[in-house]
């Protein structure tokens, strides 16, 4: 058992990098950011996939129900940003700095067509809308970014701060401080 503990301690960071879900379950603080994009995260533990000294095995008669939840959660480390999308993000940044908000939004949308589940893109689009004083839209876009942010805590925090800003400027003060709390919690 001791041997396992030692190996476990050595490999703990590796494990933390991958297994978001178990970390949630355990309530452990997850601190990683910028996980490698090409390497899929290890699957969360599964009843069927175990080997070695396992006390009990899955019985066949329960398979229909078990099949329900065990296979799917195999999420890759996201968001991944490809070179094409990176180019577009830079183009949008230039447009934004030049005050061309409509253009920047259009460019972000173009990037989102290529990577619809890239949380960073939704966050950038939210920023553009905030600058345009479209507070409701900015808030919804930031929430959308959060929904896709997986364990990217920095991004989550940024989104909550953006939501707080949008709410404050829209006159929703209590909602704003609520969002700020979430931002702190996300840290």
């Amino acid at each position: 058992m001791n041997r396992f503990i030692v190996i476990g301690l050595i490999l703990l960071p590796v494990f933390l990098t991958g297994c978001i879900e178990s970390a949630y379950r355990a309530g452990a603080p997850v601190t990683e950011r910028d996980r490698p994009s090409t390497q899929p995260a290890p699957r969360p533990m599964q009843a069927q996939k175990r080997s070695g000294p396992v006390p009990h095995r899955v019985t066949d008669d329960q398979e229909v129900q078990i099949a329900v939840y065990t296979p799917p959660p195999r999420f890759k480390a996201r968001p991944v940003t490809s070179a094409a999308v990176f180019d577009l993000m830079q183009a949008a940044e230039r447009q934004k700095n030049a005050g061309d908000m409509t253009g920047a939004a259009a460019t972000m949308e173009r990037a989102l067509r290529i990577e619809p589940r890239n949380a960073h893109l939704w966050n950038r689009l939210a920023q553009v809308r905030l600058t345009q004083r479209q507070y409701g839209q900015a808030e919804d876009l930031a929430s959308k970014s959060n929904a896709l942010a997986a364990a990217d805590r920095d991004l989550r925090r940024d989104n909550w701060l953006l939501i707080a800003k949008a709410r404050r400027r829209a006159g929703n003060m209590s909602g704003a401080s609520l969002a700020e709390n979430r931002a702190n919690y996300a840290r």
Binding site: F4, E21, R25, R78, A105, R113, Q137, K144
Partner: protein
């Protein structure tokens, strides 16, 4: 006085007697000719006014051009060589040995050299460039310029998918005099009006020559009309053939020449001349004819193609190169010979061109009506913001979300599967909508089994009961009450009777006519148990269910009564797509859009239809529902999907069937797309198909063909995934026998532990180690 007058009278009479006949005639003639002159002059002034008014004030009615999405090229794009070829064909790119000219490409195995056309988009011009592309597998693996510089991202020109022309069905693509290829102008003048640059509108010599030729032949073989006269004929007059019309034509030609320069007249001619017919659509002008016959812009045409256009002037239907290729070839040879005789081209060029194939594209691909169902949606969305006359005359450029490749794949899938399903069944119809799940962009619309036919658009107009497609809204309403329901909550699938508002007793039955007893909530949805669902809906509350349907995007007014729980709500496939879009996007509603941008002819920005999202239902409850929709596809009523697409894609969906098998539905989504398919009959008789034996087959085939992204759902922050002992519903641990992972909304997972859980120190640390060991 009397006498004098008398004598004068006498004299007069005498004189009159002498010259009576001659003078009366002369005076009458003078008067008549004066009158005629006056009438002609007045008429000429009138005509002059008409000519000026019509010509100078002519705002060319240029129909709005509608484009599909431009194909994006970037390293790593999920794009096959075949898909690229398909797009190039659609855009009219020519295959050559080396692509010197824009609009051409060369291919060597999986490598392409592609000379793109410059194209003005919303965000400016995409330059034309020579790209070097390399495919490997189902990916575009490399993208460079021909000089070896790597390219991050490039866009092909947007594929034209149709135009919005006015009620008189005149369609054209406007060209300027400077856009007209010189060879075209030279050939036109040489063949139709040799003295065009010298005459004053009418060419007497040409008329005499034509009359002589016609007399000799005994029939009309040659016309003496100048280009100006032909223009007038096309411009102002009807097709009637009479002397009166001829005279009118000549007069107007003279006036036109007096007012306008040769170049102006030539430009008008090039845009006005009638050059073909496409169903009800009249093809006017060389600009559109070039697209219509060759699918490419005028300036890209080579000599044989230009000669063919000139050949068509004399009789577009008689010399129709698609229907009468031999006649067209003969006439084209004549044009080329005249050009050679005039010294415009060499003999060798003429022979070479005469031997070339006609080069016209297939009629189907060129028809503007290739995507009638999608265009229908575009038109409806445009009419909210634009007047009909602006759409049909202002030459607007409309950029839509249509993906012609997906549309085509879906059409093929639908035709193929319907043929299979419909063997022995008559009148089987179908409709489908495919959209981007995160963006709400409509990618394809199928209005019926024959896609090229602009008839009843079932995707937009067939309002049919949706059956079990309504169920996710019921379960969503339930799971939004986490203190009452979770995925393992036991539901009673037992017979029940419900009193409808009318007082009728309603006794819902299961599809398999069996009662399944106590079942976990997820199973009731995955297997679409009716009795359990109605009990759940009644206990959650009908108003709650209706409210969730509206949150998901239902706009149509809803009558609230119990049978709505089993889908006695009638919707169109498009409306259902909207509801499932919200689910697919994790609770973020994006209104379905068919249009991205509208530009003016000059490329000025007019309007954008931006991407908007609104969180209308909580992400955690939607996550739970979607988990079960994945189960539907994996092991529930949608498990037949495995025949079409790998279960590893984890697609989510729901079947729907209505009474007597009248409507067969399937709605579902992948990571990037949401799609809805309906199969049934227009006369509302039984189609003999359930959701899984009918619509699912079409849906599966569509997905198989369009290769969607896998569905990897990320649990929202407020979801925890817990090991549970399924029999007791108690919290378990990974090592427990038969323990399964179940997502819960945080704070509502079971607290009590099953007996298998060790009573160890229970620290986080040992938990983690446990997991590590397991892996």
């Amino acid at each position: 006085m009397t006498r004098r007058s008398n004598s004068r009278k006498r004299k007069k009479t005498k004189r009159r007697n002498n010259k009576k006949k001659g003078s009366w005639l002369r005076r009458w003639l003078i008067k008549a000719s004066l009158l005629t002159c006056l009438v002609v002059a007045v008429y000429a002034v009138y005509l002059d006014y008409v000519v000026q008014h019509e010509f100078a004030g002519k705002r060319w009615a240029v129909p709005a051009r509608v484009y599909g999405r431009p194909l994006e090229l970037y390293p790593g794009a999920a794009l096959t060589a075949d898909q690229l070829l398909d797009e190039l064909k659609r855009l009219g790119y020519t295959k050559v040995r080396y692509p010197r000219q824009a609009g051409s490409y060369s291919r060597n195995g999986s490598r392409f050299l592609l000379h793109t056309r410059p194209f003005v988009f919303w965000d400016g011009e995409e330059p034309g460039q020579i790209l070097d592309l390399q495919f490997s597998g189902r990916q575009l693996s490399l993208l460079k310029t021909v000089s070896g510089k790597s390219v991050g991202l490039a866009r092909l020109d947007a594929p034209p998918v149709g135009s919005i022309y006015p009620a008189h069905h005149e369609d054209r693509v406007l060209v300027k005099r400077s856009d007209l290829p010189e060879k075209l102008v030279q050939a036109l003048v040489a063949v139709e009006d040799r003295s065009f640059y010298r005459h004053v509108g009418v060419d007497a010599k040409a008329i005499a020559r034509a009359m002589w030729a016609n007399l000799r032949a005994g029939s009309v073989v040659q016309g003496g009309s100048t280009l100006t006269q032909q223009l007038v004929k096309n411009f102002f007059l009807t097709r009637e053939r009479s002397l009166w019309r001829k005279a009118n034509e000549a007069l107007m030609a003279l006036l036109l020449e007096r007012r306008y320069g040769k170049d102006e007249i030539l430009e008008a001619y090039a845009n006005e001349i009638y050059l073909g017919q496409d169903g009800e659509r009249a093809i006017h002008g060389f600009g559109l004819a070039s697209y219509f016959y060759f699918k490419r812009p005028l300036h890209e045409l080579d000599l044989p193609r230009l000669a063919l256009l000139v050949a068509l002037v004399r009789g577009p239907s008689y010399y129709d190169p698609r229907r009468h290729p031999e006649r067209a070839k003969k006439r084209r040879r004549l044009v080329l010979n005249i050009m050679r005789d005039q010294g415009l081209i060499t003999d060798q060029e003429a022979q070479h061109a005469a031997a070339a194939p006609l080069g016209v594209t297939g009629t189907k691909g060129s028809r503007s009506g290739r995507f009638p169902a999608f265009m229908d949606l575009v038109r409806r969305q445009l009419h909210r913001d634009y007047r009909e006359e602006d759409l049909t005359s202002e030459g607007l450029r409309i950029f839509t979300t249509l993906d012609p490749w997906i549309q085509q794949q879906a059409e093929r899938a639908l035709a193929e599967q319907l043929k299979r399903l419909g063997s022995g069944k008559k009148g089987l119809e179908s409709a489908a909508v495919i959209a981007g799940s995160q963006s709400g962009e409509v990618l394809a619309v199928l209005g019926g089994r024959s896609s090229g036919f602009a008839g009843f658009n079932r995707a937009l107009d067939a309002v049919r009961p949706i059956g079990s497609l309504v169920k996710p809204a019921i379960y969503l309403a339930a799971l939004m009450q986490p203190e009452r329901y979770n995925l393992l909550s036991p539901l009673e699938d037992r017979p029940l009777s419900v009193k409808n508002r009318t007082g009728d007793i309603w006794t819902p039955k299961n599809y398999d006519n069996r009662a399944h007893g106590t079942v976990p909530l997820h199973q009731a949805l995955a297997h679409s148990y009716n009795m359990a669902t109605v009990r759940l809906g009644m206990s959650v509350g009908l108003d709650q269910v209706a409210g969730r349907l509206q949150d998901l995007g239902l706009k149509r007014p809803l009558k609230i009564y119990p049978s709505m729980l089993l889908g006695a709500i009638s919707l169109t496939p498009l409306e259902v797509t909207q509801i499932y879009q919200t689910l697919a996007a994790g609770g973020f509603h994006s209104p379905l859009r068919a249009i991205r941008e509208v530009l003016t002819t000059e490329g000025q920005q007019l309007q954008r239809y931006p991407l908007t999202v609104k969180q209308t239902v909580p992400a955690d409850a939607v996550y739970l529902v979607n988990q079960v929709l994945q189960e539907v596809a994996r092991s529930g009523t949608g498990r037949a999907l495995a025949q079409y697409i790998s279960p590893q894609m984890n697609l989510a969906g729901k079947t729907g069937t209505t009474d007597d098998l009248r409507d067969s539905w399937f709605a579902g989504f992948s990571g990037d797309k949401v799609a809805v398919v309906w199969v049934g009959r227009d006369d509302n008789k039984s189609a003999g198909l359930s959701g899984s034996t009918g619509a699912l087959r079409v849906w599966g085939k569509i997905m198989q063909r369009i290769r969607p992204m896998a569905l990897e759902m990320l649990p929202p922050e407020s979801i925890e995934i817990v090991w549970v002992d399924p029999t007791s519903g108690l919290r378990a641990e990974a090592h427990c026998a038969g323990a399964i992972q179940v997502p819960y909304i945080i704070g509502f997972s079971p607290n009590e532990q099953a007996s298998c859980v060790y009573k160890s120190n229970g620290s986080v640390f040992s938990d983690l180690l446990e997991v590590f060991w397991d892996e």
